[in-house]
């Protein structure tokens, strides 16, 4: 490459002439392309999610079409729908859709969206591609809380497990912050090591409690640790939904700053980002997302690790594109996986984690070997 002769004056770089008439501002082609891809993907994934939720609400031992399910749901949301009162549907059909299948499908979607967003945040905070929500020890903390309740014999009250799990998650978050915070900053390296170490500590407590409890409790423990949305109720949705809304708010207001954080603390600081504050906010948001999901659905793994990576391969590294694609993609992925998990060998149910792994892993590996992944630096 030959050195180009650059000769300019200070005038050339004076403030942007926003009002200069007729000047066309071209967004570089690669970015414009990825932006469109992100928009189309978000809309497409959202539409697919609605279809999967409708399918989910109609699939099972009580026979119903997707249209019937959609009509029942509409009837609950809007007053005065004729089919709700004229005997078109039996009470059983109504209950199975509104009280069992729909909450379950929605919880799966919410959990997928929330865990994926938590993964996006954590990967940004620690700048490490292996990071996932579990790496900050929050899930393990929730595990201790839930298992303690089971072992104490209070598991009969379902809400107790959730409350204890959330408490455990909060304690774990506080502990990770407390240990990782030093000299006025949360260093990524220290954070990861703190999270992994505390996670191991909490898992040890969980294992001890599990081994020493009566055999009949072990199933409840495993059910929680493996993660499941099968016992979902409408009230279970409140926590994750609120956390998701808060977290989306955070990502909307901090997109550019998060992008800057990707390239290093020093650079981000020089670009006007308050690095420690941003990191704390993202961490708390991730902990809130993970904690609220774990407390109602247990430890669902893998989604938070892999969905952000898939989004990155598909639409590039800009957080303002990664977030919507991850949220929509995570929701679709987990909701679809749950539908398969409960229909593939019905009436038996395959644990959700097995399906996410069996479908997600091959897809991810295939993407990772592609050219787009190389451009995201995965070939190093």
């Amino acid at each position: 490459m030959t050195p180009t002769d650059i000769s300019v004056t200070a005038d050339d770089i004076s403030p942007p002439a926003l009002s200069r008439p007729g000047e066309r501002v071209a967004v570089p082609a690669a970015i414009a392309r990825r932006r469109w891809r992100a928009r189309l993907l978000t809309v497409g994934l959202g539409a697919a999610l609605l279809v999967v939720i409708a399918l989910s609400a109609s699939s099972g031992t009580v026979d119903l079409s997707a249209l019937d399910a959609a009509r029942l749901v509409t009837g609950h949301l809007l007053p005065g729908m004729p089919w709700m009162s004229d005997g078109t549907y039996t009470l059983l059909q109504d209950q199975v859709v509104w009280q069992f299948r729909l909450p379950r499908a929605l919880l799966a979607a919410l959990a997928g969206a929330a865990l994926s967003l938590a993964g996006v945040f954590i990967q940004a905070v620690v700048r490490n591609p292996l990071a996932e929500p579990a790496i900050i020890g929050v899930s393990s903390g929730a595990g201790v809380g839930a298992v303690t309740v089971v072992v104490l014999g209070a598991a009969a009250v379902g809400a107790w497990i959730g409350a204890a799990a959330f408490l455990g998650a909060a304690v774990a978050t506080a502990a990770v912050f407390w240990v990782a915070y030093k000299n006025g900053s949360i260093a990524p390296q220290r954070l990861v090591l703190t999270g992994v170490a505390l996670g191991t500590f909490f898992s040890a407590i969980t294992s001890y409690l599990t081994l020493t409890t009566e055999a009949q409790n072990v199933f409840s423990v495993m059910f929680f640790l493996l993660g499941s949305v099968s016992a979902a109720t409408m009230t279970d949705l409140i926590g994750p939904l609120m956390a998701l809304m808060v977290a989306i708010g955070v990502s909307l207001t901090s997109g550019r700053a998060v992008n800057a954080l990707q390239v290093g603390d020093e650079t981000a600081t020089a670009l006007g980002v308050r690095v420690n504050r941003l990191r704390s906010v993202l961490l708390l948001a991730a902990a809130l997302l993970t904690g609220t999901v774990v407390s109602v659905a247990g430890g669902i793994g893998f989604v938070g690790l892999v969905v952000p990576h898939i989004a990155r391969v598909l639409v590039g590294s800009d957080h303002r594109r990664i977030v919507p694609v991850s949220v929509a993609g995570g929701a679709l992925f987990l909701c679809g996986a749950d539908l398969i998990a409960r229909t593939v060998s019905a009436p038996a149910e395959v644990p959700l984690g097995i399906i996410t792994a069996l479908i997600g892993v091959p897809f991810f590996l295939w993407l990772m070997r592609g050219r787009a992944a190389d451009e995201q630096g995965m070939s190093r």
């Binding site: 050195p3 650059i6 200070a10 942007p16 690669a30 390239v263 020089a270």
Partner: protein, 263 residues
């Protein structure tokens, strides 16, 4: 912008690395910060954009103390091109340059046409327009440095801080980069290793020796064989380019003092 450091004393951890450094950089001037490794060049630069709080003394931007300004206020006025470009996996050159717009964010952090206008100009000035859609991690060292320079330009700051921008660059890129910087007309402080580049492109130089400013003035007056021997431990001769008439330093090797110290 006019930059002043007033009796600046700076610590790294608990170790004092800069002692009462006072330097004034006038509007539009290019000041070279010279000194051996560990003499405090980078540390002074970090204090100039508020990333490091002084133990005592002040950094003033047009008379205002940096310590009283918010992160974003500083970033709108001071752009930094740091040493060792971090690993920017996945970003394209245009995206990387766009990061320079971070302190100017508008509603919900969206990119305005104005942002793209500035990014386009900055890429032109730094000579990376043709690379706009290339991933940064695929670039050569020189292209990467030019991308970082474009980002600093896109920040539209009034003060540019460059920390050894010519490290690891081919000879031609070194000249090209310094030429671009000098032509920008922005007040600039650049930490440099190559004394010859300082002679060619800096209006004035400040020489640091173990945290103390030991010389300050026009490079041709300051960079004498005596000073080079004292501060850098290298024997040198001053020569004049027979064709261009410009001053140069001919470095002959380590001085007797340094050889003695090493035995």
């Amino acid at each position: 912008m006019r930059l002043e450091t007033l009796d600046l004393t700076l610590n790294r951890g608990s170790r004092e690395v800069v002692t009462e450094a006072s330097v004034v950089v006038e509007q539009g001037e290019v000041l070279g910060l010279l000194g051996a490794n560990g003499s405090g060049k980078s540390t002074i630069l970090r204090a100039c954009f508020g990333a490091l709080r002084p133990v005592s003394g002040q950094v003033r931007l047009d008379g205002a103390d940096v310590a009283t300004m918010s992160r974003r206020e500083v970033a709108r006025r001071v752009a930094v091109m740091a040493q060792e470009p971090p690993d920017e996996f996945g970003l394209t050159v245009a995206e990387s340059v766009l990061l320079g717009r971070t302190p100017h964010r508008g509603v919900l952090g969206r990119d305005s046409p104005g942002d793209w206008l500035v990014v386009g100009r900055a890429m032109e000035l730094a000579g990376v327009s043709a690379l706009a859609d290339r991933p940064v991690h695929r670039l050569s060292g020189g292209e990467r440095q030019r991308t970082l320079l474009a980002r600093a330009i896109a920040q539209e700051a009034e003060l540019l801080l460059l920390d050894e921008p010519t490290n690891h660059l081919d000879v031609s890129y070194r000249f090209e980069l310094m030429h671009t910087v000098a032509e920008l007309g922005i007040t600039t402080v650049v930490a440099l290793h190559e004394l010859d580049l300082a002679l060619a492109y800096c209006d004035r130089v400040a020489v640091l020796d173990r945290g103390h400013v030991v010389a300050l003035g026009e490079p041709a007056d300051i960079l004498t064989p005596d000073l080079v021997r004292e501060v850098f431990g290298v024997e040198a001769s001053r020569i004049t380019d027979p064709e261009a008439g410009t001053p140069h330093l001919l470095l002959r090797g380590t001085s007797a003092r340094v050889r003695e110290r090493n035995t």
